[in-house]
């Protein structure tokens, strides 16, 4: 999957640690998600979308859909 978590986070002027604390995961998890090495669970994806007040499909997309 592709995602835009990094751009939403930097637009909000947050560090990875801040975002991690906000959604109750480790900084490494946020880092792995931003590097597209780890696909979050549905629950975490929804938490991130709720935190950034956006739709989950604006944050995450299947690679083929993004292309």
């Amino acid at each position: 999957m592709k995602n835009h978590v990094r751009s939403y986070r930097t637009d909000a002027d947050m560090s990875q640690a801040d975002l991690a604390a906000a959604v109750d995961v480790s900084r490494q998890t946020i880092n792995s998600i931003e590097r597209e090495r780890y696909d979050p669970s549905l629950e975490l994806a929804l938490k991130l979308a709720a935190y950034f007040d956006c739709r989950v499909e604006h944050l995450f997309a299947l690679e083929s859909a993004d292309e």
């Binding site: 640690a17 991690a20 604390a21 109750d24 995961v25 480790s26 900084r27 490494q28 998890t29 792995s32 780890y38 979050p40 669970s41 629950e43 975490l44």
Partner: protein, 138 residues
């Protein structure tokens, strides 16, 4: 006054670091106690101390809600799955092979090797039960 705004309890990342250090410390203490007391000729005390520290580490692990997040749990699941598959592959290749060599009077495995195969068979039996139970729950 001191400029402190959060306590460890407020900051999940700090709590995670604390719990991980506590867990690691208890595991290290367990190994140290086992090896030291055994070296000093107190094998029963060594094992009792070891078990005490290990149980403590287990309590920290299960009571902490921050020590492992979903990525850590996903890593554990993937690594566990791969380990069990590796055992399966080893069992599939070695088990009948050793049995056939024994039947053909080419090689008689010592009890230690039989124990290794038995251990892996038991592991797979437990996996089978766990698989059945997990499948019923989902």
């Amino acid at each position: 006054m001191l400029g402190l705004t959060t306590t460890v309890d407020d900051d999940p990342l700090a709590r995670r670091r604390r719990d991980r250090r506590l867990f690691g410390g208890l595991v290290a203490a367990a190994m140290l106690a086992l090896l030291t007391l055994d070296y000093l000729g107190r094998p029963i005390a060594a094992v009792l101390a070891y078990w005490t520290f290990v149980v403590g580490a287990g309590v920290v692990m299960y009571r902490s809600d921050v020590i492992m997040d979903e990525r850590d749990r996903a890593l554990e699941r993937v690594a566990s799955h791969r380990a069990v598959l590796a055992v399966g592959a080893g069992l599939v290749v070695l088990g009948p092979g050793i049995g056939a060599l024994s039947e053909a009077d080419v090689y008689d495995a010592p009890a230690l090797v039989d124990g290794v195969l038995l251990g892996w068979v038991a592991l797979f039996a437990v996996w089978g039960v766990a698989y059945g139970v997990t499948r019923l729950q989902r």
